[in-house]
Symmetry: C2
Subunit: 500 residues, 2 copies
């Protein structure tokens, strides 16, 4: 999951109190069951962390899918099967409890690359470490993104079953192994008739997440931007105008430069302000924020959040020196063309007299409703072709469009209900500026509500020392058992909202 | 020395014959002396290679200067001293033989960086290796660029002395240890009054080189382009508009991108054709080729050279699909703005969702008469300032202007005489498209002729498996002893041309 750096959930709108969740029957018994299995859950999480699947490195494939299948069966899914794709296989599982309502669950079983040298404890050991001011956290690759929250969800359904009950909803699980490489083949999974048929009965799909703030507050997001990653390459491999390797730089007097050509192509993609996309027709389908969306943003702003966020991001100013609310509106509403990286020729200290034989820019679009991935890629190609950049090779390495879910959908109503019943203060954000492939569920043919849901805390996704809180010292912030109970409560809330 | 890749000396204008050099007195005795000391010379070259000075890595400084000083004293220079600079120290030495004529010699005692893993034999071992079709070569870092030719020159003056003679000319030697980092502090060396006074008595300055072609032909170059290396950096270190580190890419919606800013700045430096410099006033002092220079270029073209050169450079076309002669005119006459390298953010496989906190372009100017380094740098800064790029940091890491020497100078006349007397076929090129810091001698206040001179063959400068021929199997191509004798002959030719 492409987590947000420095995102502030913001705006406490109710005081935090101990979880009540009056709607969940025999809740005390369930709490006992959750607590009884805590050791087993932590151990299961550690075992899972020890077997990383990293699609970019072709590591832990296909073992990760098989492990995911077993985790599902172990949690009570009646069937679980591997779904092959052109890339890393996915897992499809169902749990039919005879309920009236079916809910879809999205898991990612892959994790981000890591460099053990940067970690304070081995990233696959998933050690329990004291985190000052927070409590006891588990530290390991994938613990918050996304194995910890997902393991808590599995623990929730195990606890319901352990207490002799049937789940209040039926479950359809799809778990992919390529989320960290932009879900390249995930649409193939949902297109499998059996998977599509199962999902089409669901009231919506959610991904377990740990999005609780330090003050205990939580957030509901009504969608996420899409993300499309692509690379532009110019060089001997794209035209015989350019050398095949780096050659002596004196030759630039008579030989064209891939690096300059790349600069010229890039320059056309954003306006001179350095941030407004300039691809032909880029804004055609971009929906401006609605009055309600602006209202939600304004409501979510904590008065003291801006300075901390600037510090965290290491900047002194927002684009155009805008105020905080305007910067947030921009954050949630603007589709971007971002340069992730540039690489050509000599990249060490100082200089070296070479004419590079190859130049590459790594870029990414962030898309907002109603843009689509196909639209964005087609427009990019047409834009470059129109300007004669036939020697600039475009490779789309992955991505998906934006997703958006109605505030009055069962999925979101159940979130509000669960938070309200538990006394968890929350804000509603119109959109996550980061991305997750909810469009696979949210777009055609399924057109389902899709959302992230979960309490608890963690950090360091995509970074060293990734952590997920197991025992919280702050009564307003959930540890593993409370997080697990939040999933229990959410499933009951979903059943109740669906049947209202 | 910034050697040319794939440079063709071209156009044989006389048939190669065995060296005669009628002008050198008692030549047979000198040949015997050179041959007698061959083993010593090879061993001395191996010892020198074993002690690399690499300014970029701060390796072998100041040991390299002390070693250079001893080499000079050992070769018969009466005094040799270390000249400190703000960087790596230089060496200044004199050999007064009571002659009427004084000649300046430029040495570089530093070498290019290397990666032993890329070499077929250890780069500091300087092993003797059979080279098919060429003979026995010594393989090691710096053997052709420039320790081999320089060691042959030292062997030449030793041989003259060993045969009981005085040198036909007095010598002033300046040896620098920062040639491979664009001679950053070399002007400080020449500015030392004692050094300047000594050099001002010289008829010119030359650097020993190995520039013989496979067919035995040689070349005379009447100058070289200047080279100025600089880096453009944008990021958190240059403005608080930018993040200090790479952050999550979703933030580009509200935070400026150093990478886009760099692209926008770069884009202004060359025209849309991707090669014509567009810095304000860039061509003001650029001298077009003269009729004689064009004539020399046309004369130097071998009919079958183009295809081989394109293959060597890995290109199918010259700029604008020009013909070979036009491409050579461009090569020798055009001042360039080259991108050596680009680096920002994520540079690995595929993509990564970051907004880079820093973007850097490594660039280099190649300058032609009458441009100067100061002029080029001043124009670059003014160009960027005029367009508001105050947040783009310019760091000039080194460089120097072009040099040009008259065809009828003593230095060049003696080269022609030596080649003619020895039956070495040669062409005259108006300019080397590569660069060497001859402007330090060629420009004010010394205003001396400055040139490269030497026979023999080698290759792989700045690359793995750098080599220099010791025993040549081709009678038209010189091995170490013949190269050494060529320096002997050249010193006599210089004395005779100076006294005509």
């Amino acid at each position: 999951m492409k987590r947000l750096t420095g995102m502030t959930m913001a705006a406490v709108i109710a005081l935090a109190v101990a979880p009540l969740a009056a709607e969940t029957p025999n809740r005390e018994e369930l709490v006992t069951a959750v607590e009884a299995q805590q050791g087993t859950t932590v151990k299961a999480l550690q075992d899972w962390v020890a077997l990383p699947t990293i699609a970019a490195e072709k590591r832990g494939t296909p073992e990760g899918a098989e492990y995911m299948r077993k985790l599902a069966l172990d949690a009570g899914f009646q069937q679980a099967k591997i779904i092959p794709t052109d890339g890393v296989p996915a897992v499809f599982a169902t749990l039919d409890s005879g309920a009236k309502t079916t809910v879809g669950i999205y898991f990612m079983y892959d994790v981000k690359q890591f460099d053990p040298a940067e970690w304070s404890s081995p990233p696959l050991d998933a050690k329990l470490v004291e985190r000052p001011g927070e409590g006891t956290a588990i530290v390991g690759r994938g613990v918050v993104n996304q194995k910890g929250p997902q393991m808590a969800f599995l623990a929730a359904i195990k606890a319901i079953q352990a207490s002799g009950r049937k789940l209040p909803v039926n479950l359809v699980l799809v778990a992919e192994g390529e989320e960290e490489v932009a879900s390249t083949h995930f649409d193939q999974v949902v297109a499998v008739p059996e998977v599509q048929a199962a999902l089409s009965t669901a009231v919506g799909v959610f991904i377990p997440s740990a999005n609780q703030n330090r003050d205990g507050s939580a957030g509901i997001t009504l969608g996420a931007k899409g993300a499309v990653e692509f690379q532009l390459v110019v060089g001997g491999e794209t035209s015989d105008k350019y050398p095949k390797t780096d050659i002596h730089s004196s030759n630039h007097a008579r030989i064209e430069s891939p690096a300059w050509r790349l600069v010229k192509a890039l320059d056309t993609l954003v306006a001179d302000d350095g941030h407004t996309p300039a691809i032909d027709g880029w804004f055609e389908n971009v929906q401006p924020l609605t009055a309600r969306q602006k209202e939600l943003i304004a409501q979510s702003v904590k008065p003291d959040a801006e300075a901390g966020e600037k510090t965290l991001l290491g900047v002194g100013r927002w684009i155009n020196d805008e105020d905080y609310v305007t910067s947030l509106e921009r954050f949630f509403s603007q589709p971007t063309v971002n340069i992730q990286g540039l690489v050509a020729g000599y990249t060490g200290e100082g200089g070296k007299t070479v004419l590079p034989g190859r130049a590459e820019a790594k870029l990414e679009f962030r898309l907002v409703p109603n843009m689509t991935k196909d639209e964005a890629v087609t427009k990019l190609r047409a834009h470059l072709a129109k300007r004669g950049f036939d020697d600039v090779q475009v490779t789309v390495s992955g991505g998906y469009g934006p997703n958006e879910t109605e505030e009055d959908s069962i999925l979101i109503r159940a979130q509000k209900r669960m938070f309200d019943d538990s006394g968890v203060p929350y804000t509603i954000r119109p959109r996550n500026a980061g991305s997750w492939p909810g469009v696979v569920f949210n777009g055609p043919p399924l057109n389902l509500p899709a959302s992230q849901f979960g309490l608890g805390r963690g950090g360091g996704a995509h970074a060293p020392n990734e952590w997920f809180l197991i025992e919280s010292t702050n009564p307003k912030v959930y540890g593993l058992d409370e997080v697990t109970m939040a999933y229990v409560d959410y499933l009951y809330a979903l059943a109740e909202e669906a049947e209202r």
